[in-house]
Subunit: 423 residues, 2 copies
Amino acid sequence: MRSLCSSLPTAEPGSVVTLEGWVHRRRELARVTFLIVRDRTGLAQVVLPAGTEVPPQETTIRVVGTATANPQAPGGVELTETTIEALTEAAATPPAELWRPALDVSLPTLLDHAPVLWRHPAQRAKGELAVASLRGFRETLDGLDFTEIVTPKFVESATESGANVFAVDYFGRPAYLAQSPQFYKQQLVGVFERVHEVGPVFRPEPHDTVRHLAEYRSLDVELGFIRDHRDVLAVLREVLAGMVASVHSRAAAAVERTGAVVPVVPDEIPVIHFADALALVGAPADEPDLAPEHERELGAWALAEHGSDFLAVEGYPMHKRPFYTHPQPSDPQWSNSFDLLFRGLELVTGGQRLHRHSDYDAAIRARGEDPADYSAYLQAFKHGMPPHGGFAIGFERWVARLVEATNVREVTLFPRDLPRLTP
Amino acid sequence: MRSLCSSLPTAEPGSVVTLEGWVHRRRELARVTFLIVRDRTGLAQVVLPAGTEVPPQETTIRVVGTATANPQAPGGVELTETTIEALTEAAATPPAELWRPALDVSLPTLLDHAPVLWRHPAQRAKGELAVASLRGFRETLDGLDFTEIVTPKFVESATESGANVFAVDYFGRPAYLAQSPQFYKQQLVGVFERVHEVGPVFRPEPHDTVRHLAEYRSLDVELGFIRDHRDVLAVLREVLAGMVASVHSRAAAAVERTGAVVPVVPDEIPVIHFADALALVGAPADEPDLAPEHERELGAWALAEHGSDFLAVEGYPMHKRPFYTHPQPSDPQWSNSFDLLFRGLELVTGGQRLHRHSDYDAAIRARGEDPADYSAYLQAFKHGMPPHGGFAIGFERWVARLVEATNVREVTLFPRDLPRLTP
């Protein structure tokens, strides 16, 4: 019966214990050999007579031995009088020494050898932060009566942002990979009212930047019967708070190991209007968007002024937002949409959408397009839709900001971008 | 402040209540008009003077009225003295009458009008069963210390089953859509030991069958440090029991509404060897696989003999299983793999995988291929992997069997197959 490394400190002294795991480290001293075994729960120390043949690092082994108190051992208990059995042939030398406290490798080395280098406890801890965040996301939305949905990744036409999509040979005819579940999550507000989805989205980003990937995870939310985008922002606030709470409760060790600076989510996220944001950073009043340096400046301002790592910028100009965006009723050059900046970086885009069929009709015609080309999407609106809105969180960006990684690839196991399609 | 339909029965009589939802039904009698409002939580009855103009079915509305006891009303309370405000223009007539107890439409009609017809409470209930199952799946695996993983859907080569993949134009060079996360979940056993993923898989199924889709959801599990495939089957048993428990606790109303026959998961799932299964159904001993009618016969046998809706068939011939399959040690013509039949239909495929690098090398060469072509995958094995195995549940098949649908498309919101790419 296998025991886990984490349970060794509570083993009865003198009892026989079986561990299974990887050879994390060997230390051969003159009079004794120490072996550190690693499993998913942690590390355990095994003591062997000097000169014992021990399989090389990363070989998987089964160790049977006697639990023995030793104040010097991690957790105060080690295994003595052990027998070791290798579960495979000797492992090849890993591309980096996984037992060292820090994984000091270049980004290309990390990515080329991800399946091995992510075994390093500090690297794996980034994955643990990600998983805890995801559980907090779902838990919060389950609690708010949202329904998890599954939307198709094959779509017939590339409507949302023109030609910027991946094309697939779909049984001999063209199809595209969904850039976002936007159209589907809206339609499903008509069925379930409140929906969320965690899934891959596909975007052929032609530029090599530290924050874009060709395939990433989008945490999507959409809800009906709202007054405006501020109701959407209130749900986003709850979701972020739930993600943070889950990181604290489920991944405290990973926070420590990665040195992650977990944000405090304020009771109310500060909001600034796009026009005021431009003025604040000294940009011309007719700028159509915020540049990355403007976002950084606004992030610093939010921290100084409101003590907040988060800042919502609302009211982006209508002509820069997608056609389904709801205008700001008081001044329709602006929109009822927002971006959420987290430490000065865009993390979330959201807002209120149009909900009247006639408004879609007009918005699509205004783009010089034919509403008939959108008939599958517009069907839900023809048959009654509530005022609604939603948001999408870029998952890799969230994790990257949490551990203050400069490149999303540092926290993405198998990133996909222009040059990289493997491992 | 909006109230939900489900809370109306507990509203203080005489209090003013605001409901928001869809016009589910209008009934115009000589002396009074009844309006049924639908929201995500249920239905509520609104009473209006005869001749009141009421928006057509499916229009979204806000109703303000007085909670009034009426034993005839659903839940014993209705809204009287109401004012109604439409939230959009009048909705078009829906493709079927959504207020009737059963949704009596052909499959093509259901699929063409999915975003509207899934609003029918009996149809939506199928979605609720699906969601409850999914939550049970994740909850069980979280409890067993599995880590949720995210694996790439773009892959460089089409290795697992030859040419049967979708090709993508990936920045001008070919890439493929992952048919399964198999290779990645195995590699990540090296990192997290126990992993699971819920995600889309893509298979260009050229045949129009009732149980195949070009895109479906695979519930994938993989775990390390097993003895053999029976350890994998034991985890599968826990997962199924967790899914069933979640359906009962979270979707009892949906079970009732759909007439779903929720299975009992036996403490131990009965197992029959492939060779014995062939003999039992009277098939020749050299048959390489079970035909669908054999599976049905075996399902009936499991129910009669073991009182079980589930039957695991183990030991499938090695030459019919993928190259990474672990042979049966006592007789290597057979494999340490299994299919799980649920009511006579294949629902899950699983088993033990090879874990030694040298075994992969030999298995790939035996197929006449070059192990170098698999180097990204084999990297994890070169650096030490535990004995491991796993399984994949076809999510749409599970839901279809639960409600005894003959076609997976009846329970799939936006199915994708050879002819269908929309809505």
